[in-house]
């Protein structure tokens, strides 16, 4: 049978060189990839920080606006847009409840703020 490559009859020393070179190429390739991922990650982290800073600034601006009517403090707090009132939990940890609501929303394919959960009770 003919040799598939001129390097097929490679000697031990050449094989050692190929092995070291191959290992180095794998490292080089993955280090290159690592650098690219790090740069990409840093860009996204910087973007997130910028967005958070803008949100914080907007919240601070809203908080600094004086309340016009003192009577408003006695009135029940207004619900935020998309809020669906209070949720009653029976023997369920808030973390578990949050997870369950997320799963239900995902399975129904609807945003969480379009669903209303009235109560969650553990069935024993």
């Amino acid at each position: 049978m003919m040799l598939a490559s001129p390097l097929d009859g490679i000697g031990v020393l050449d094989a050692a060189i190929v092995a070291v070179l191959g290992y180095a190429v794998v490292f080089f390739g993955l280090i290159l990839l690592m650098i690219v991922i790090m740069v990409m990650g840093n860009i996204f982290i910087a973007k997130d920080k910028k967005r958070e800073a803008l949100n914080a600034a907007a919240k601070a601006t809203i908080a600094s606006v004086p309340v016009a009517t003192p009577a408003a403090s006695t009135a029940p707090a207004a619900t935020a847009p998309g809020s669906a009132g209070k949720l009653k939990l029976y023997d369920v940890e808030p973390k578990t409840a949050a997870m369950l609501m997320a799963i239900v929303a995902d399975k129904m394919g609807k945003p969480l703020n379009e669903l209303r959960f009235i109560s969650i009770k553990e069935v024993k």
């Binding site: 003919m2 190929v18 191959g22 390739g29 280090i31 996204f44």
Partner: protein, 403 residues
Amino acid sequence: MINVGEILLNLWQGSGFNAIFSGFTTGGWQNLVMLIIACVLLYLGIVKKFEPLLLVGIAFGCLLSNLPLGGLYHQELWTNFMDETSEFYHSYGEIMRHGGLLDIFYIGVKTSLYPCLIFMGVGAMTDFGPLLSNPKSLLLGAAAQMGVFVAFFGGICLGFTGSEAASIGIIGGADGPTAIFLTSKLAPHLLGAIAVAAYSYMALIPLIQPPIMNLLTNAEDRKIKMVQTRVVSKTEKIIFPIMVVIFVALLLPDTAPLIGCLMLGNLFKETGVTDRLSDTVQNALMNIVTILLSTAVGATMVGSTFLTANTLKIVVLGVVAFGISTAGGLLGGNVMCKLTGKKVNPLIGSAGVSAVPMAARVSNVQGQKANPSNFLLMHAMGPNVAGVIGSAIAAGFLLSVFG
């Protein structure tokens, strides 16, 4: 009047039993031994559950191709196909004209179609989030390719040719499709032995890795708890496969089929607009290709090429490759542990041998044995998926040298 005796005699002479026993010394015994090996592999797949989805198909393919006169697989057609002096060199037409069912199946292996489609499914099932949140884990994926090159060197020392040694070495990448992809191109006559060794050792990872992990890490380091990494945005996950294909395929064009399919599958998963394609690639396509791939690979296990001393050498070199790759990953983990001031648990290094997600699970189990409140699974998934890319790069390098 019909001669019943002659009919029965013809039936006997045309039977596989006659072929085995009348030609017992000229190859019949090899068929018999291969049938026994096929049954042992079926036992390992069905009863011991060693990678059953692949091993059952491989074993049955082996069984079918070693039934004399079945005409399902023709080794001589593929020998001519690979012989540059033959008039049928690289003639798929000849295979289609005279080949059996398993010869037709095998065309998909020979053209690298099946390993690439399997990689597409693997990509669609893989979450690269842990890798993106901790890119340094790519270094562990690279470190864990050590066994590939040590086994390659060992293969040369044991008298294999460069192409054969490269195909044997890639067993250390612990990645079945990559091993089949490279072997079908460089040393197709060793495909059966290499595929069986690769998948058997992958199934044995929970037995092979823990002793090496205990040997190369200390008890204190195994208890290290790693902090949760950042949440990766959807956009990053969509950009990642596109970016990897561009960088890796430009660096090593020979890896383009494997990495391209891996990342295409991952893109289907992450875009959110190709859910149907992602679902098909992960399930229906993956299952169909697994059937064709496993039976075709099993068919190459014919007695004349499998029952040789080389097969035993491959089995030994394969386990050496696995062990050294594990050790390489752990050494990388130890270095990262020291450099980061004990913020990295070195056990995640062994997950760099690919074998997703089995190797990451083993890291998690060993971590929990040292510290029951330790959860290393997501941290180990980073090196684990990095190992898939690393083994594809190693295969691309070996292909560019010996292809």
